[in-house]
C-alpha cells in the first residue's frame, strides 16, 4: 500500500537512477554475448561503461561529493583510449582477414 503511494507520487530517488544503470549494463552485457561483429561488441562495451558512469554521477549527487564526477572523467579517458586502440586493432585485423567477426579470429589459439 505504501509502496503504491510512493509510485503514485513519482518521486525520482537515487534508486531509479541505479536501476536504470543496472538495466543499461545488462543490455550491454547481452549485446556483448549475442553479437559476433567486433565493432558492435565495442559499442556494447561503451554501453556498459556509460552505465557505470551513470552510477558514479547518481552517487555523487546522492552523497553531495564531487569525487564521483571526477572519476567519470577518468572512466571517460580510459574509454576513449580503449576505443582508439581497439578500433585500430579491428582495422588491422580486417586488412588481413577481411572480416570483423570475432569467430574468425582464432589464429592466436595456442
Amino acid at each position: 500500500m505504501t509502496r503504491r503511494k510512493e509510485i503514485a507520487m513519482l518521486e525520482v530517488t537515487t534508486d531509479w537512477y541505479l536501476s536504470l544503470a543496472a538495466i543499461l549494463f545488462t543490455i550491454g552485457f547481452l549485446g556483448m554475448m549475442i553479437r559476433k561483429n567486433a565493432l558492435i561488441m565495442f559499442m556494447c562495451i561503451e554501453l556498459m561503461l556509460n552505465a557505470v558512469n551513470l552510477t558514479f554521477i547518481s552517487a555523487s549527487k546522492h552523497f553531495g561529493q564531487i569525487e564521483g564526477q571526477v572519476f567519470v572523467f577518468f572512466v571517460l579517458v580510459v574509454a576513449a583510449a580503449e576505443v582508439v586502440v581497439g578500433l585500430a586493432i579491428i582495422v588491422s585485423i580486417f586488412r588481413k582477414q577481411s572480416s570483423a567477426s570475432v569467430d574468425v579470429l582464432n589464429v592466436a589459439r595456442g
Binding site: T13, W16, R35, C44, K61, F73, V83
Partner: protein
C-alpha cells in the same frame, strides 16, 4: 511531476537506443542508437547537477568517439553480412540462461523492499553543482597524480593506434 518527466523521457530513450545498439542489423543504425543513448544520458547528467560532465559527454562520446566509430564502419564496409551460426555449441542457450538470471536478479532487487538505497544511506540535503571550477579544484589538487597518469595513457594510446593502423606493406610497395 516535471522532475519525473525529466527522468522517464530520457530513460526510455536510453533503453530504446541501447536495444537498437544490440539488435539492429546495419552497423550505421547501431551507431545512431548509441548516439541516442549517449545524448539522453547527457540530459540525465544535467538533471543530476553534473552539467560539466554532461557537456564533456556530448563532446567526447557523442562527438569524438562516435565519429571514430563511423569512420571505422565506413572503412570496413556496411554491406557485409554478419555470420549468425554459433561456433560455440549451445551458445544461445547459455546466453539466454545467463540473461534470465541477470534479469530475475534485477527484478528481485527492484521489487523486494529490502533494497532501499535511500533508507540505508540517506541523501544529503544540499546540492553540489558540478561546475568546471569545482571539478578543476578537485582534479588539480587531490587527484593530480591520476590526472598525470591518464595524460600519459592518452599519448601511449595515440601512438599505439598509429602504429597498429599504419599499413607498412602498402607504404613500402608504393615507395
Amino acid at each position: 511531476m516535471f522532475e519525473a518527466f525529466l527522468f522517464f523521457a530520457p530513460a526510455s530513450l536510453i533503453i530504446l537506443g541501447a536495444l537498437i545498439v544490440i539488435f539492429a542489423k546495419n552497423p550505421v543504425h547501431n551507431a545512431m542508437g548509441l548516439v541516442m543513448t549517449l545524448v539522453s544520458l547527457a540530459i540525465i547528467y544535467i538533471t543530476l547537477n553534473a552539467t560539466f560532465v554532461a557537456m564533456v559527454q556530448m563532446l567526447v562520446y557523442a562527438g569524438a568517439v562516435m565519429t571514430l566509430f563511423l569512420f571505422v564502419i565506413m572503412m570496413i564496409g556496411v554491406d557485409k553480412k554478419e555470420q549468425t551460426t554459433d561456433s560455440i555449441k549451445g551458445q544461445t542457450f547459455l546466453v539466454s540462461g545467463v540473461f534470465l538470471i541477470l534479469i530475475s536478479l534485477l527484478v528481485y532487487v527492484a521489487v523486494s523492499s529490502d533494497f532501499k538505497w535511500d533508507l540505508w544511506f540517506p541523501p544529503v540535503e544540499y546540492d553540489v553543482e558540478g561546475t568546471p571550477q569545482l571539478i578543476a579544484g578537485t582534479l588539480f589538487t587531490a587527484w593530480i597524480f591520476p590526472f598525470e597518469i591518464i595524460s600519459i595513457l592518452l599519448i601511449v594510446a595515440t601512438a599505439a593506434a598509429i602504429a597498429l593502423a599504419y599499413d607498412t606493406k602498402k607504404r613500402n610497395s608504393n615507395a
